[in-house]
């Protein structure tokens, strides 16, 4: 199901969408890894550790007394077991048939490496990544709104389908164009409001050092919020473009088709 004819701005729009997808997926990965690094730091730098706090009452000890035992014995053993299991499973999945001795050596080295990496991480950044939640939320704002723009390009916004189905088949294209016109107009209104808001944040930021910053990461709010007018502008552009014929209609896929495409990655990889 391909659009019948190319419209003047289709290729530009496709290029923009491709860039948006790349940025969004990169931010997704970055956000996840930064928040995960923060979790690692919090879990392993906590004194007494959570595991010590949980185990201590069971053996009539105190978390403080248990903490060194956990750090020097229990955690390395857990690391080793995980690494050993992972190596064996990997070998099974890849059908490489690793020997017990080789797997043990690899697991020892792997768990040692992971342990040292965590120790180095905690020593190098003793205060941890306290800024990570705000960083993650800023990424979320960007990837979510870029995602909204992508969803517009792909015609994936959730809609009450019954609305469109109320109309006779013949009238549907016209109705859809009219709906796009109204929705595009709404998006542009929001975009203008967002520009006004960004201007306010910019004025706030310019008013003096330390003003208008996102807490913790200390990035200017106006810069982080720039994505709001951009996203709604792009959504407005796409809806209006379709309405007045500058852009082809989104190739609408039903949900099953869409998910099957995602799952196709699985098939390819096999």
């Amino acid at each position: 199901m391909k659009p019948n004819t190319q419209k003047p701005l289709d290729s530009v729009d496709a290029l923009i969408c491709k860039a948006e997808k790349s940025i969004a997926s990169f931010l997704f990965l970055l956000m996840s890894l930064v928040v995960f690094a923060d979790v690692l730091h919090r879990v392993f730098s906590r004194t007494p550790g959570r595991l010590a706090t949980m185990i201590a009452p069971l053996i009539h000890s105190t978390p403080e007394a248990m903490d060194p035992v956990i750090d020097r014995a229990v955690v390395p053993i857990l690391f080793f077991i995980t690494a050993f299991g992972a190596i064996l499973s990997r070998s099974r999945a890849l059908k490489t048939g690793i020997g017990f001795g080789k797997a043990t050596v690899q697991a020892v080295l792997g768990s040692l490496g992971a342990g040292l990496a965590i120790i180095a991480f905690i020593k190098l950044i003793p205060s941890g990544l306290v800024w990570s939640p705000y960083f993650g939320l800023s990424c979320l704002l960007w990837l979510g709104l870029l995602g909204a723009s992508i969803a517009t390009h792909q015609g994936q916004h959730l809609a009450l389908e019954m609305g469109e189905k109320l109309w006779p088949e013949k009238l549907r294209p016209g109705v859809s164009k009219f709906a796009s016109l109204l929705v595009g107009g709404f998006c542009l209104v929001i975009s203008v409001l967002a520009v006004l808001s960004v201007k306010d944040h910019y004025a706030d930021w310019s008013s003096g050092p330390g003003a208008g910053l996102i807490p913790s990461i200390e990035w200017p709010k106006w810069a982080v919020y720039l994505v709001i007018p951009y996203c709604f502008f792009m959504m407005g552009f796409r809806f209006l473009g379709r309405s007045i014929g500058l852009l082809s209609d989104a190739v609408k896929k039903d949900e099953a088709e869409h998910i099957q495409e995602i799952l196709a990655t699985e098939g390819e990889s096999k």
């Binding site: 890894l33 995960f36 979510g144 006004l196």
Partner: protein, 488 residues
């Protein structure tokens, strides 16, 4: 003015406009007409709701769990999970069907999405069930229903959205919702399993189905293959309830774990394929996000004009008993679920109904949340706007009418489970009460409001008392005043 708003919203609905635009237009017009806004730039309050996304940590959980689900799904865990479940349950009467239900349940916990579960498990299990001579309609109905268990099995996106959407008026911790959802999820899965057993036994007696014998060596082998997939929910829930991390942080752990399992252990995915899966997640997130932020704007407006209080006064005048109230709410929710997408229904109606249930009828907020989510699960199966029915019809290549008919027995079982869960709060509160060292039994407030037991948060601190609607409205006014003062 009201007519203008209603007509505009109706116009957007009949034109088939996206939901975010419907909610957004309703919010914008309400703010413009019914408040003191007198110039265009005053509508910037709408933008503040979007900007506030960058300050609410609970939002982080949604994209992170979406990402981990997308990675695990693309990484081929469905096949391993199904084989493991078959080895575990295949020897029982109706064993293959029970395996399908169990696979759906575990896969839902990993992917966090009902339609994805239905497709990933269903596309393998329905042909397998039909090949094993199970009745076709039974197979389709069972998998379509079990696929929608994703709403209840933690970490569930529906539960996260419920917790976030009522956060202004009730204190509902997502981790409490996750824990509370476990027993109802197992209960519905158990009912589906018993139904499968009965069908299996019946067909076996007729000599149509042949049962596979139990094999310990096969179970061991499949467990070794599938253990990394099954371990994800354990890691997420164990970490949250062990106090190692919050639900949002658990999302990041799930992503890292998914990357480790799919890229390093199973080597099913390359970085490029992971980026592709994340692109799809970004687009799904993008379809949700504008609805979420604009619905928050609408909810704040509704609080501002005391709609909830008026609704409460109206319900007080009607004087229904708590049981009658719950029945009415359920009928309304099933009706809404049949007409609109479950997540949008949660965002718009949960903040309105949850405070009424707890303040007026003494229904525990978590219990109400679970009932709400079960209703949304039913919404996935209730025609005409039933996501899972459309998906099933497309995947199994069967007419919509046949899928609708096929799902009726299992939908009936889910409705029966809903009634049990609704009037026996023990099902949803048992694990929470046990965790908090209280009596695990909870009774439905048949006589009306009694004291609402508070729950505790992950760190073990007592949960905040739910603010009254008055205080919520007052707080909003305060916030708005603060904001405008800051601007000046």
């Amino acid at each position: 003015m009201i007519t203008a708003v209603v007509l505009s919203v109706l116009l957007f609905i009949v034109l088939g406009a996206p939901l975010f635009a419907i909610v957004g237009v309703a919010t914008t017009l309400c703010l413009a007409f019914f408040t003191d806004f007198n110039q265009f730039s005053d509508l910037k309050i709408l933008i503040q709701h979007i900007e506030n996304l960058a300050t609410k940590q609970e939002f982080l959980a949604i994209p992170l769990f979406m990402a981990s689900g997308a990675i695990m799904t693309a990484g081929g865990i469905a096949k391993r999970l199904i084989e493991l479940m078959e080895a575990m349950f295949g020897w029982l009467p109706g064993g293959l069907a029970i395996s399908a239900v169990a696979a759906c349940m575990f896969f839902a916990a990993i992917s966090g999405s009902s339609p994805v579960t239905l497709i990933a498990v269903g596309s393998m299990m329905v042909p397998a069930l039909v090949k094993a001579k199970y009745p076709e309609n039974f197979s389709i109905g069972l998998i379509t229903t079990a696929g929608s268990l994703g709403c209840l099995v933690p970490p569930s996106i529906s539960m996260l959205i419920y917790a976030i959407s009522v956060s202004g008026s009730s204190s509902v911790d997502p981790s409490d919702m996750f824990l509370a959802g476990l027993i109802p999820a197992f209960m519905i899965a158990g009912m589906l399993a018993i139904y499968s057993m009965w069908i299996g036994y019946r067909e076996e007696k007729k000599g149509i189905i042949v049962r596979a014998p139990f094999s310990l060596s096969k179970l061991k082998e499949k467990f070794r293959d599938g253990v990394w997939s099954v371990f994800l929910p354990v890691l997420v829930l164990g970490g949250i309830y062990g106090g190692f991390y919050t639900p949002s942080q658990a999302g990041a752990v799930a992503v890292a774990y998914s990357l480790f399992v799919t890229m390093w252990i199973y080597r099913e995915l390359t970085l490029g394929k992971i980026m592709n899966a994340l692109k799809e997640s970004a687009s799904l997130m993008g379809a949700l996000l504008p609805i979420i932020v604009l619905a928050f704007g609408l909810n704040d407006f509704l609080a501002l004009i005391d709609v909830q209080e008026k609704l409460m006064a109206w319900i007080r005048d009607l004087n229904p008993s708590p049981a009658q109230f719950m029945l009415i709410v359920n009928v309304v929710l099933i009706f809404l679920g049949a007409l609109m997408d479950s997540i949008s229904a949660t965002l718009i109606f949960a903040p309105m109904l949850a405070p009424i249930a707890s303040e007026l009828f003494g229904i525990h907020p978590i219990h109400f949340g679970i009932v709400f989510v079960v209703n949304m699960e039913i919404g996935y199966l209730m025609p005409p706007v039933a996501t899972n029915l459309f998906v099933a019809s497309a995947v199994f290549k069967k007419p919509f009418g046949q899928v609708t008919k096929a799902v009726m027995p299992t939908l009936g079982l889910t409705c029966l489970a809903l009634v049990l869960i609704m009037f026996m709060p023990t099902f949803s509160l048992f694990s929470l009460n046990l965790r908090d060292g209280k009596s695990p039994w909870a009774t439905f407030p048949w006589e009306g409001k009694t004291t609402v037991t508070s729950t505790t948060t992950v760190e073990g601190e007592p949960a905040k008392k739910a603010p009254s609607l008055k205080s919520l409205t007052g707080k909003m006014m305060e916030d708005m005043t603060d904001e405008s003062e800051k601007k000046e």
